[in-house]
């Protein structure tokens, strides 16, 4: 069970890492126009 002493702090770090990814996605505006991105794939150019 000693591994938990490493894994729990690691999981805290992981949460902050994922938060960083979310920050990037939100501030790039990825959640602002969801429809157009979905239709882009249907275009044949």
């Amino acid at each position: 069970m000693d591994i938990l002493y490493l894994l729990i702090p690691l999981s805290v770090g992981l949460v902050f890492f994922i938060l960083g990814g979310l920050w990037w996605a939100i501030h790039r505006g990825q959640f602002e126009d969801i429809e157009a991105e979905g239709e882009r794939i249907l275009r044949n150019d």
């Binding site: 702090p9 949460v15 938060l19 979310l22 501030h27 602002e32 126009d33 157009a36 239709e39």
Partner: protein, 823 residues
């Protein structure tokens, strides 16, 4: 900011010539004259001072600008992609993002390689129109706000999930299962993850509570913020000082979950509000973007409206809107000030009289000296008014707000009482009971109940082409039992059709119509426009020669006499083709006959009296009366169906019109309305509506917004069909932008549905608070359950309201406007 406007300007002055050349060539070679004028307007934007109004220097890229633009003509997600493709192909455009949801875009371009006019021209050629977003700052602010909110929700959500993981072992393990240091490690981890929630996600609540405290006010954020802080402090002490007076209990899971749910509710509310605001903005961009200004040397130059200053002299063509408040220096015209004064008839304006920004010049070009510009104009004030209407609180919400204050004080006292009561037995327990009371009683759900529902409906209606100008009106509309319709432009189309022609002996019908049309095409009067349209339609059917013959008519010495008609000194058919003064000019002009020619009322043209239910217009020459045209209004094709649907909804229908009683009866019968009255002046209509109200009816009025200002204001609820006169819209509660009568049915249905939802929401939140307060005070409700209950009840209310933003209850609105997926 890495690049200041001053720093880039040296490169600009060199390359701006190239940009001018490239733009100027295109219209000349390919486009007709109006497009050239359009290009001239676009070119105005090629000035750093102009483009900086809707652009900002792009950070990190020297000499690059990010422009916000609004696109006209977009209707689906595929349009966004087409636009992006078109813009990307322009050399110098660095990146493009077009949002199909907001019809806005952000174009990053390099000032060294291109100019706004160049890429706007590319948009033009793709079949759309790009307009500088003058409200870019407001829009940008809202977008930032929305992003920050999503980010807060994301932080709270992710941290909540992880904190819940750390809390699970404590819940599932027995008293002796877990080692003390493992337990404190889990608590420590929970504390670390609660920090961002507390310091960042909770900020709106804490800031608002602090703001209220400093102003010695009390709001619903106060108990929530208090609950958050107390929970966090108690849990922190529990983590780092388990031997302290507050015991070793921690509540990080309750805290984060509670914050997450609360934020989700706020976020949904924010989205609803933005959606409605976006729809409003699209309607508000009505001022011209450029004007013709007189220079010091007496020439005319086209400048952007923002360059306009008090004291400038500008020329306003017929059909244009005035750019500022001012006074006429030269010319005589008629103006439409319906938006600003409620006066719906065209008003005569001559030298020395005032005109106002946003009103339309209807008749003739005039020269105006500007006295007020920008925010000082009445137009700007009215726009501000419209915007505030969208954010105003409905009466039911106001009532809830009034109740909230005494309610909140009671809650604070109750939680303090509960804490004092439990303190002797256990201070930690006492605090958590107090927190539970604070949290569980938060009247969030109560205060969300009404606005959430009404905003959801307003947003749904806006997407269906109905603008809600006053949220309160949704409540009144649900109670309406009588709908009064105007006739002209409401039950009928604006256009007339030619019903009959009476002629002087020896006159041919086509000849008469052509001559009348030749006069009529110079007037903006609805009857004139109808005659011209009819003549064109006939000529189109007859073929190209007939069209050329019609176009060939020219008149001299034309004047328009208000209330009487048009008069021209002479009229002749000048053959189309080579210019009249060139040697190639073929046949000499053929005079039409002896002038002066007149087109107008019976008295003006000395026409014989003729009894008819239709509108008449007469033509006369030097020898007197030539012809009479009877014009018939065309009943809207959907009117009969819509009336039947409205009657099925239990509404009584009436027609009140200023037209001849016989014509009104005829139209009313055609659409299936029994109660009809004609010959009403606006005051009569208002009296009739007041009489209905006195008998206890709740009256809704549907008009075209042209002649109905006072009635629209006097009725409990009013609709305006926004097709004909966009600026008259301001008077009514609802504006049917698409000009479809069917939208009335949809709006009525939705308003009733909305009120049902509001009642459900209010009932639910009252019942919830009434049931939970005693439980919490008695200590039966732990803080986490209180948080969950409160957040769930808010969420329930918002989700219940969101049902309203779905598809139309009857599908009526959607049937009228099919959704196009491809262009």
């Amino acid at each position: 900011m890495t690049s200041l406007p001053g720093a880039v300007s040296p490169t600009l002055s060199v390359s701006s010539k190239e940009a001018l050349v490239s733009v100027a060539q295109e219209p000349d070679s390919r486009m007709p004259a109006p497009a050239a004028d359009d290009a001239e307007r676009l070119r105005l934007l090629d000035d750093p001072q102009e483009w900086s109004a809707f652009s900002q220097p792009e950070k990190g890229q020297d000499g690059c600008w990010a422009s916000s633009v609004v696109f006209e003509g977009m209707h689906c997600a595929a349009c966004a992609i087409t636009l992006e493709d078109a813009l990307r192909q322009v050399p110098g455009v660095q990146s493009v993002q077009v949002s199909s949801a907001s019809h806005r875009g952000r174009v990053v371009w390099s000032a060294g390689h291109t100019r706004p006019s160049t890429w706007m021209q590319a948009v033009r050629q793709a079949g759309y129109r790009a307009l500088p977003a003058n409200d870019a700052q407001a829009h940008e602010r809202r977008r930032q706000e929305a992003r920050r909110m999503v980010w807060r929700v994301a932080v709270a959500g992710l941290c909540m999930m992880q904190v819940m993981m750390y809390a699970t072992p404590e819940y599932v393990s027995g008293p002796e299962d877990m080692a003390d240091d493992m337990r404190s490690l889990l608590r420590w981890a929970s504390w670390v993850l609660s920090l961002p929630v507390m310091l960042f996600s909770c900020k709106p609540f804490l800031a608002s509570a602090w703001h209220d405290l400093r102003r010695r006010q009390i709001s619903m954020d106060l108990p929530v913020a208090l609950g958050m802080v107390v929970t966090f402090v108690v849990s922190t002490l529990g983590t780092f000082e388990p031997e302290g007076p507050f015991g070793a209990e921690v509540y990080f899971d309750s805290l984060t979950m509670f914050v997450f749910f609360l934020l989700t509710g706020r976020w949904l509310e924010l989205r609803l509000r933005d959606r409605t605001a976006g729809a409003l903005e699209a309607v508000l961009n009505r001022l011209p973007d450029s004007v013709r200004r007189r220079t010091a040397s007496g020439d005319w130059e086209r400048v952007s409206i923002r360059r306009l200053a008090v004291g400038d002299v500008i020329e306003v063509a017929a059909g244009e809107a005035f750019a500022g408040d001012g006074r006429i220096l030269e010319g005589h015209t008629q103006v439409d000030e319906a938006l600003l004064t409620g006066e719906s008839r065209p008003l005569g304006r001559s030298v020395g009289e005032g005109v106002i920004a946003g009103s339309h010049n209807l008749a003739a070009p005039v020269v105006v000296r500007i006295e007020q510009v920008g925010a000082a104009t009445r137009y700007a004030q009215i726009v501000a008014l419209m915007e505030s209407a969208a954010t105003a609180k409905p009466a039911m919400a106001q009532m809830v707000d009034r109740l909230a204050r005494p309610f909140l004080i009671t809650v604070l006292i109750a939680s303090l009482g509960a804490a004092l009561w439990w303190w002797p037995s256990s201070p930690a327990h006492a605090l958590m009971v107090a927190v539970a009371v604070l949290v569980v009683t938060c009247p969030c759900a109560l205060s969300l109940a009404t606005p959430a529902a009404m905003l959801a409906t307003a947003g749904a209606l806006a997407r269906g082409g109905v603008l809600v100008r006053r949220l309160q009106a949704l409540q009144s509309l649900a109670a309406v039992d009588t709908l009064v319709f105007d006739k002209t432009g409401t039950l009928t189309r604006d256009a007339f059709t030619l019903a009959a022609v009476h002629l002087r002996e020896g006159m041919d019908e086509d000849q008469a119509l052509q001559r009348a049309a030749a006069l009529a095409r110079h007037s903006l009067h609805p009857v004139s426009r109808a005659l011209w349209a009819q003549a064109r339609q006939r000529a189109e059917l007859a073929g190209q020669d007939a069209m050329a013959a019609l176009q060939a008519w020219q008149v001299q010495g034309l004047e328009e006499r208000a209330g009487q008609g048009l008069q021209a000194q002479s009229m002749a058919a000048v053959p189309e083709g080579p210019a009249p003064d060139s040697p190639l000019a073929g046949a000499a002009p053929k005079p039409a006959g002896e002038g002066p020619w007149r087109l107008g009322s019976a008295a003006f043209c000395q026409a014989p009296a003729r009894a008819t239910a239709h509108l008449q217009v007469h033509l006369a020459d030097a020898r007197g009366w030539v012809a009479s045209f009877e014009l018939q209004e065309e009943v809207r094709p959907e009117a009969a169906r819509v009336m039947r649907q409205l009657q099925d909804l239990g509404l009584q229908l009436q027609v009140l019109s200023g037209d001849a009683p016989a014509a009104v009866q005829q139209v009313a019968a055609a659409v299936g309305i029994e109660a009809a009255r004609g010959g009403c002046v606006p005051q009569d209509k208002l009296d009739a509506v007041r009489a209905l109200q006195a008998r206890g009816h709740v009256v809704g009025m549907v008009g075209d917004g042209l002649n109905d200002g006072p009635v629209l204001a006097g009725a409990d609820v009013s609709f305006a069909l926004g097709q004909a006169v966009p600026l008259a819209q301001a008077k009514s509660d609802f504006v049917l932008i698409g000009g479809e009568l069917g939208a009335v049915v949809d709006t009525v249905l939705r308003s009733r549905h909305t009120l049902r939802i509001v009642h459900q929401n209010l009932a639910w939140s009252l019942a919830y608070n009434a049931a939970c307060i005693p439980l919490a005070v008695l200590g039966y409700l732990p803080a986490w359950a209180a948080g969950l209950g409160m957040a769930l009840s808010s969420l329930l209310v918002v989700l219940n309201a969101l049902r309203l933003s779905g598809a139309a209850p009857l599908g009526a609105g959607q049937a009228a406007t099919p959704i196009q997926l491809t262009r």
